[in-house]
Subunit: 297 residues, 2 copies
């Protein structure tokens, strides 16, 4: 997925919070978790932004690792029996199915704890203003107003009035929170921030909604094995799903519109400065390739 995926995989392994003194089952679970990092979309976005905006390699690696750890922790917790009760994740049995629920929770918390430390280390020598912005962005993206709120709505969702609007709101909080951090955190030390703030924010919303809408369509329509997780979970669990709310044809229309809006933001950014070109590459990799392969047919 990303050019430097081996480099990122090495960083994910090097920052593994499991130590020699860590309880062995937790240690095993952590090793398993960090060795199956998925497509590393968030890390890839950070590394690309760092390259274009002149962020130091060590800083970029710490941020990339933190985002992947947070993301992985959110997947581990989402898959628990009391949440989505999933079987498969990234093509393997979910962590709690191998190690038990308690170890899965402790693994997620270990990754979360290390991720906060990594972001602080990444910005250790930055100004108080940059550190404060980083702190606020992380607090709001990951907290009770961000991804955790999205997950709470997800669990409480029932099909009904305004369902497609609710679906969008939940998707933005659940998927957009970490995508937004991946786009913005590496820019904090550069002068690009906060000048382009609004456009970047809009881009992260359209990306998140389009990505989630494609996920929803695939959850309903993909054959088992085509995606690395259990399909049909949304219907089984009455979870927010745009395709269940609107049907496949309207979902396809919605996806096409969101992709167009995302493209427009990227175009505006590129017209202002060529250094935003990496976002066009990521628009292609993250969304368009998936769109053409699974959706546009």
């Amino acid at each position: 997925m990303i050019e430097n995926s081996e480099e990122v995989a090495r960083v994910l392994s090097a920052n593994n919070p499991g130590e020699a003194t860590t309880e062995p089952v937790l240690c095993d679970a952590l090793a398993k978790a960090v060795s199956n990092p998925g497509r590393m979309v968030r890390a890839g976005l950070v590394m690309a932004a760092a390259k274009s905006h002149g962020l130091e390699a060590a800083t970029a690696e710490q941020l990339a690792c933190a985002l992947e750890y947070w993301h992985q922790a959110s997947l581990i917790l989402d898959d628990l029996p009391c949440m989505d009760d999933a079987e498969l994740r990234r093509g393997l049995p979910c962590l709690h199915r191998t190690y038990g629920e308690s170890t899965a929770i402790l693994t997620a918390l270990s990754l979360i704890n290390r991720a906060y430390a990594l972001v602080q280390r990444a910005f250790l020598l930055e100004s108080a203003a940059v550190r404060e912005q980083a702190c606020e962005l992380v607090d709001s993206a990951l907290g009770a107003a961000g991804i955790l709120c999205g997950q709470a709505w997800d669990l409480r969702f029932s099909r009904g009035l305004r369902a497609s609007r609710e679906v969008g709101r939940i998707a933005w909080r659940k998927t957009g929170a970490l995508l937004g951090l991946a786009i913005t955190l590496p820019l904090l030390p550069s002068s690009a921030w906060p000048r382009e703030r609004r456009t970047l924010h809009a881009l992260s919303i359209y990306w998140a909604l389009a990505y989630q809408a494609m996920d929803d369509l695939l959850d309903v329509a993909a054959p088992t094995g085509a995606i690395g997780k259990t399909p049909g979970r949304d219907a089984a669990l009455s979870r927010p799903n745009l395709t269940i709310a609107l049907g496949a044809p309207l979902t396809r229309q919605r996806i096409a519109r969101l992709l167009g809006l995302a493209e427009l933001q990227v175009k505006q950014l590129r017209e202002r400065d060529a250094k935003w070109t990496y976002l066009a590459d990521w628009h292609e990799r993250l969304l368009m390739s998936r769109y053409r392969m699974f959706i546009a047919a």
Copy 2:
């Protein structure tokens, strides 16, 4: 428990991560959690240290709140069915028994997320050296080498050879992690740190071990209702418990010895400087009063 307990309770409520836009059940659970803060031992230690060492009130409040949030999150998660499957906590039904497991997990994560932000805000204007130390202390105390490792051992524990030694190791990681942070974090900006580091570290170990040993004895021996949580859980779940490993008489001996060792550290600190007197007060409040009331009989 502490002179300024109303002030701390106000701070715990003011920093509640639940917002107007937060999903209502999660919002309710957060309000419930922050309104039943227990004895606020960790907050009290921070406030006392701040007063003696000249830490600003706003900084002290942020640190105090962070420690109580982390502590409360650890209790919420420890009580889950896949961990200790507890019924009562702080005299009320455990959070997951009122709101369900998923909301309990999201509540704990909301408190954890806000706590990291609070510590960063508390030290925002401190030197990079102080911020780095804070980051390392938190990372190691709360991560896979600290409290999470302690919980993993706790779950994996089976009675047998070296049981009492294992019990101590687990108690130090589980109980000592946050007590250690409560003692040390507020000292980081002052010149007292790292001069007294070794003595303070020893004190936090003896306190944690003595406190946990008293807890173990009460878990085995206290009548229902005398403590704010379900008694007899350790035996029922084969969890590490010093009294189960050694019997009540040897547990009492051990407690007396640990209290003596803790007192020795406090005495050494006070002889060096009268500003450490608050630790003598806390030795009395945290341990000796409980010891006399429940154990020494």
